[in-house]
């Protein structure tokens, strides 16, 4: 290792030799960096879970454009949209089709005594254009009243409870005082507002939510004709529909706006955002402490090098060499432990927590940058002092 680094760097790898010389201190430093990584990863994981669980429900239905109430900041809050807006949309050039989307949360008192909050998505099974391609066949089977597709990943639901659920052998349960049959399953999982998802026809939805009316869905979904830019149709719809009552945006833009609202306006999003910021600050402090202690411990030796004619760049090189070694080697256990924590948290909460390559790369780059900056700051005392004052 030393010979390889000497060849690569054209000088003795003082940083590496220094770290390797005191193994206990080296391991402690690596543990510090790994801990800083874990701190940041966990906070990013929670924030990422919020983001993913906010955006994921938009994949539960089809359509290119959404018409929503002006006060609907998310998929589930805000006023309903009058069905007449759907008919207005259907008369707009470029619109291929439009359909109502019903969404609501419902409490499911399970037979095992537990309860789960289900996000119920109500779609017209005869309008397959508004159903995700993978669900068109099972959703078509929901024409029979009080049949649903139940989320097999619902938080609290015992694993395997829905195995074999089909129209021939449905999973029967009670929901909102009605006997309901799960004739198939989906796998979505829990989020911050619900424990799982349930697909139903619009008619079954209205039976489950007795106070809701078919004349007032939560949103209106719109598909555009082939070859037409959805953005152009959005502008046309905005011109036709009253802007003080409804808002129109592509589904992608609506999901992005929902995410922005969740992370910047909702207390949970703001708190998780602060969690990430605090995680980064604490991580920086740990990394700086590790490197500044190392510099302080070797000050006498560095002073000797300074007396021999080594300049500040040389010391920066040593500390940066140490910084990169610590950042990379500390990252390995940090990312491994964080991935294990993600798995444990996902199993316990049902939240979509997974270690993505982009997140891992971002944290590694951030750790290297933090180590490098901390190392540069740590050598300032050395730069300012006369060698004779350091002996």
């Amino acid at each position: 290792m030393t010979a390889l680094l000497t060849r690569l760097m054209g000088r003795l790898p003082i940083g590496w030799l220094q770290l390797a010389h005191s193994r206990t201190r080296f391991l402690a430093a690596l543990a510090g960096v790994a801990f800083a990584n874990i701190l940041v990863f966990v906070q990013l994981g929670i924030l990422g879970a919020l983001n993913d669980s906010t955006v994921a429900p938009y994949d539960l239905f089809g359509g290119d454009i959404m018409i929503s109430s002006v006060d609907a900041n998310t998929l589930t809050d805000g006023s309903n949209v009058a069905r007449t807006r759907m008919f207005q949309a259907l008369g707009t050039p470029g619109v291929a089709d439009a359909a109502p989307l019903f969404i609501g949360n419902i409490e499911w008192q399970r037979e095992d005594g537990g309860s789960s909050t289900l996000q119920v998505v109500g779609l017209d099974p005869d309008r397959p254009a508004f159903v995700p391609a993978s669900l068109r066949a099972p959703v078509a089977g929901l024409r029979i009243s009080d049949t649903v597709l139940l989320d097999e990943s619902t938080r609290g639901l015992p694993a395997g409870a829905l195995d074999g659920a089909s129209s021939a052998s449905p999973y029967r349960f009670e929901l909102a005082g009605r006997a309901v049959e799960a004739v198939g399953t989906v796998s979505v999982g829990g989020g911050f507002t619900a424990d799982g998802t349930l697909y139903a026809s619009d008619q079954t939805f209205l039976r489950l939510f007795g106070s809701r009316s078919s004349a007032a869905p939560n949103h209106v979904l719109v598909t555009v004709e082939d070859g037409i830019d959805p953005g152009v149709v959005v502008d046309r719809l905005r011109a036709v529909l009253p802007g003080d009552v409804v808002k129109v945006a592509t589904k992608t833009d609506m999901a992005a706006a929902d995410l922005t609202y969740q992370t910047t306006e909702r207390p949970t999003g703001v708190i998780f955002g602060f969690g990430v910021a605090i995680g980064i600050v604490v991580g920086l402090v740990i990394v700086y402490q590790v490197l500044s202690t190392d510099v302080a411990d070797h000050l006498r030796e560095y002073a000797t090098f300074k007396a021999m004619g080594y300049g500040q760049r040389f010391f920066l090189g040593i500390v940066l060499e140490e910084a990169v070694i610590l950042a990379v080697l500390g990252f390995v256990p940090g990312v491994a432990i964080s991935a294990a924590i993600y798995s444990a948290m996902a199993a316990a909460t049902g939240l979509p927590l997974a270690m993505g390559v982009d997140r891992a790369a971002m944290v590694l780059a951030g750790t290297i940058a933090a180590c490098v900056v901390s190392g540069a700051i740590a050598t300032r005392r050395l730069a300012a002092a006369d060698p004779a004052d350091l002996f």
């Binding site: 030799l17 010389h21 070797h298 030796e301 002073a303 000797t304 090098f305 007396a307 021999m308 004779a388």
Partner: protein
């Protein structure tokens, strides 16, 4: 060589040097109007009781401390007000031997000596390694090349420090109590090596010492007391 690229007959010239430690009311003058010229190739010993200022004068002459008042010309360059980059460049032409050896604990004897060569930039690693091994052999450590300082005795560490200081053929060697940790024979060997360098290569040595055993080898003995030169004796 001096700044113009020629060997200076007087590599170290000090004129009217004062030095202070502390600030405000705690400010205390440690060096009073010291003036001295050191001839090229000579071995000059600075003596005096503890606190007399000899190490301070040595570090001021050796570019290890900022000159506050007076003039120190080292290898033809004025140190008072010199930019850090010039001071760094000058230090590369010097050799330092410290009382506490100041070896890097995580580097082997050879690697510590290599640091004395590496300061001059990239070069032939094999050639440098041979030079490091050669000088370690000269100070009697040919069988301790890969030992870490923690595995060496005090005297052996000091000999590594001497090898490190001399390996790059410095023009001036500043030594602070270099023989304090050495037995009589090792101490004499080190000083004789410095004398030989002076004779063969014109290396100038300025040494702070309490060691009366090596005074016979000095070309000049300067005695300081309370920050002033009180005696300046040249060998005949």
């Amino acid at each position: 060589m001096d700044g113009a690229g020629h060997h200076s007959a007087v590599p170290v010239a000090v004129t009217g040097l004062d030095h202070f430690f502390g600030t405000g009311e705690a400010r205390k003058q440690a060096i009073w109007d010291v003036s001295i010229e050191v001839a090229r190739g000579s071995l000059t010993v600075l003596m005096g009781p503890s606190g007399s200022g000899k190490t301070t004068v040595l570090t001021l002459m050796g570019c290890l401390r900022d000159v506050q008042h007076g003039s120190v010309r080292l290898l033809g360059e004025e140190l008072n007000g010199a930019a850090e980059a010039r001071r760094v460049a000058l230090r590369r032409r010097l050799g330092f031997i410290f009382q506490a050896h100041n070896l890097h604990e995580s580097l082997s004897a050879t690697q510590n000596v290599l640091m004395g060569l590496q300061v001059h930039g990239r070069g032939d690693n094999a050639l440098r390694l041979r030079a490091a091994h050669h000088i370690l052999g000269l100070v009697g450590l040919g069988d301790r090349l890969d030992y870490l300082p923690g595995s060496l005795s005090g005297g052996q560490k000091q000999r590594v420090a001497v090898a490190r200081a001399l390996v790059s053929n410095p023009e001036v060697v500043f030594a602070d109590e270099p023989t304090a940790a050495l037995d009589k024979e090792s101490g004499a060997t080190v000083v004789r090596m410095l004398k030989t360098l002076g004779r063969k290569r014109g290396t100038t040595t300025i040494m702070v010492t309490h060691d009366n055993r090596i005074l016979d080898l000095a070309d000049r003995i300067v005695t300081l007391e309370e920050g002033r030169i009180v005696k300046d004796v040249r060998a005949r």
